[in-house]
């Protein structure tokens, strides 16, 4: 059984980067200064992940304004515009307007990370479609936007892709649309579908036959009772809550993982339950350390 831990998603900006971006908006500094601070933030994030002993590095998507914007800007036919609340949070994304046939113009560049395994995060095709209010189908977005991006990152050395899916848990009827869309994606590297910030209990069984290598569940909103025995796909149980500032108790995580292992899933890798950007950076650092401790605990209890 593979036992790993890693942190997909958007990582919070440091207070220094927050200030730099505020200054940029107010005309007190330039793009170059912001970019230099982004590089400093990213270097620190790499150190934090390495110290925590995480198995794959993430660049933290520090330049991403939200989950959908970079792909919308890199694609023909898509424009990111209306400000829209992200689920039940106090953070907003720009919903995607469809103004033509969506097609990735130029893949997003691979992050500049030290040699070794690294993971990428993308929105799931169903999430992309919902961010566009259904104006573009999940299948077309998978084939024409996400697939070339996954291929490009795989060629650049990416070892794992997490598809963040915030909407399916709230719209379980979308499972067939999601399944058809995922079938359009290449799998040059393992793909995971992570149900972020949602109760995945109602769709978990239906997720078992999705064409992905792992399913992520938010166990801060999903009851452990909803996980069937011998679940055939590897699980990414979220044991770090990105929506609270409290630092997780390692004993509670160990106890939880033990109970989860009693259900004999195909495999486990520990993750946060969504973007860590929902806590300030100082707290996110502590949470990554807690994730690393949980990984050590996972090995022990397994």
């Amino acid at each position: 059984m593979a036992l790993k831990a890693f942190a997909p998603g958007i990582y919070p900006r440091s207070e220094a980067l927050v200030q730099a971006t505020r200054d940029l908006d107010r005309g007190r500094t330039g793009e170059q200064a912001v970019e230099e601070q982004v590089k400093r933030d990213q270097a620190e994030l790499v150190r934090v992940q390495q110290r925590a002993g995480l198995d794959m590095l993430s660049d933290g998507l520090l330049r991403w304004q939200d989950l959908f914007r970079p792909l919308a800007e890199a694609a023909d036919g898509l424009v990111a515009r209306p400000l829209t609340r992200f689920l039940d949070t106090n953070t907003f994304y720009r919903a995607v307007l469809v103004e033509g046939e969506p097609r990735l113009r130029t893949p997003l560049p691979a992050p500049n990370l030290p040699a070794g395994p690294w993971l990428a995060t993308l929105p799931s095709p169903f999430a992309c479609s919902r961010a566009a209010n259904g104006a573009a189908g999940a299948q077309a977005l998978a084939a024409n936007v996400l697939a070339p991006q996954i291929e490009a990152w795989a060629q650049a050395g990416c070892t794992f892709v997490v598809l963040a899916e915030p909407f399916l848990a709230r719209e379980p009827a979308g499972i067939d649309e999601l399944r058809d869309a995922l079938a359009e994606l290449p799998r040059p590297v393992p793909l995971a579908l992570q149900l972020v910030f949602g109760d995945g209990g109602s769709v978990l069984e239906a997720c078992a036959d999705l064409p992905v290598d792992a399913i992520g569940l938010d166990f801060y909103l999903t009851s452990l009772d909803g996980v069937p025995e011998h679940f055939p796909t590897q699980l990414l149980p979220a044991v770090i809550d990105a929506r609270t500032s409290a630092i997780e108790d390692p004993k509670e995580i160990d106890g939880f993982v033990e109970r989860l292992l009693e259900r004999r899933p195909a495999g486990l890798s520990l993750v946060p339950n969504g973007d860590l950007q929902f806590v300030p950076e100082r707290i996110a650092r502590e949470k990554l350390a807690a994730l690393g401790r949980a990984r050590v605990g996972l090995e022990r209890v397994a």
Partner: protein, 391 residues
């Protein structure tokens, strides 16, 4: 009896640059002093020359600057012709921090992104919240001393405080893999404690000091639709037993989620909601002309909720609504509800993101448009043959 609507603001105004820079410890520029001179003159703020002189000399302390900012804001709201005023929340940092920083049990945690390069500060509840004394009584007394008009005190609601805080206390145990019932119970206890231990003491102090209208602000009301009953619980626990007018302000939310739980609000005069943000800027009083109002007003009609504070100004735009547009929005609401007595008039929300020039024009037009609507309704009443169907 003739129709007369009550006009009022919702809460916050932007802070003058001389107030912002003074509190940030940044030097004032001539343009900041000119702002103080110009608005002091235009609003006829008594003794404003003294403020300008002190700003020039750097001799005003921060308390004095706060007092002057409040006086300017009161004067601005009065000059636009509003019936009910306050101080534009000039002394408050912002609606969440103002409460969290005062109460025991909250600790600041840092900055979180709202969108793009915009951020907000967030605190965590680490112990049962409480306060030593009412928070806003001095603020109210100052307003009462500087206006003859009725005042309405805006207060952040318990549910919004809960929803915008991290929870390191109530939900600490058993969160991982826990049940929905357990999570709801933790939120309920948090709401009850904020309402009873933080908001209610302030409300009681304000009412004892003469406040006769308390507005509870709950912008987070429908963020988690299943928790709207907690919004109601928080309101009733905070203000249910006080002898004053009580209302609730909600904005930028899915209002369809409010009913039926809001029918349990105790003695709540009205819901003041944002409408203009989602409306057309074209004139007209038909359903197609007023897309921002139609669905929500029908909820008011269907459920019979007594009063609506009609948001007729978009606070996210510098577009100055013509008086005729305000008029038509009000007339449309009267038409749908069939009773002008159930309607009062306000902006969508606090106007803190707009310049004072824009605020002045918007509010002045809001009052003028309200008078136009009254004229139409009163003329129709006086001449039954041309009476519109609603009046």
């Amino acid at each position: 009896m003739s129709v007369r609507f009550v006009t009022r603001e919702i809460g916050s105004l932007g802070k003058p640059p001389w107030r912002v820079k003074s509190f940030a410890g940044r030097p004032l520029e001539e343009s900041d002093l000119e702002e103080a001179r110009r608005w002091g003159r235009e609003l006829q703020v008594d003794g404003h020359e003294e403020l300008v002189e002190k700003l020039e000399q750097g001799s005003a302390d921060l308390t004095e600057i706060d007092d002057w900012a409040a006086r300017y804001a009161i004067a601005l709201l009065e000059r636009t012709g509003l019936d009910v005023v306050y101080d534009g929340e000039q002394r408050r940092t912002e609606m969440y921090d103002h409460v969290a920083a005062h109460a025991r049990g909250f600790e600041p945690r840092g900055t979180v992104r709202s969108f793009d390069n915009k951020y907000y500060a967030k605190a965590a509840v680490v112990a049962e919240p409480s306060v030593d004394a009412p928070q806003d009584v001095d603020e109210l007394r100052f307003v009462q001393e500087h206006t003859d008009r009725p005042v309405k005190v805006p207060l952040t609601g318990a549910y919004t405080m809960v929803d915008w805080s991290y929870d390191e206390h109530y939900a600490r145990e058993g969160a991982l893999g826990g049940s929905a019932e357990r999570r709801y119970d933790a939120r309920l206890r948090f709401v009850r404690d904020v309402a009873g231990n933080v908001i209610a003491p302030n409300v009681h102090g304000l009412v004892e000091a003469g406040a006769d209208w308390i507005q509870i602000d709950e912008p987070a009301a429908t963020t988690k639709p299943d928790e709207v009953p907690l919004v109601v619980e928080g309101f009733n626990a905070a203000v249910g037993d006080v002898d004053a007018k009580k209302s609730m302000h909600i904005c930028f939310s899915d209002y369809s989620r409010l009913w039926p739980p809001v029918l349990e609000l105790e003695d709540c005069l009205e819901l003041q909601l944002e409408f203009a943000n989602r409306d057309s800027r074209e004139l007209g009083t038909g359903d197609d002309d007023r897309p921002g109002f139609v669905d929500t007003l029908r909820l008011f009609k269907e459920f019979g909720y007594p009063g609506v504070g009609l948001g007729v100004l978009d606070i996210h735009s510098d577009f100055v609504e013509p008086a005729e547009l305000v008029r038509d929005r009000i007339l449309y609401a009267v038409d749908v509800l069939g009773d002008p007595g159930r309607i009062q008039v306000n902006p969508d929300c606090g106007l803190r993101t707009r310049s004072w020039d824009v605020v002045y024009e918007k509010l002045t037009n809001m009052v003028a448009g309200t008078r136009l609507a009254e004229d139409v309704l009163n003329r129709a009443h006086a001449a039954p043959a041309t009476q519109p169907s609603a009046s």
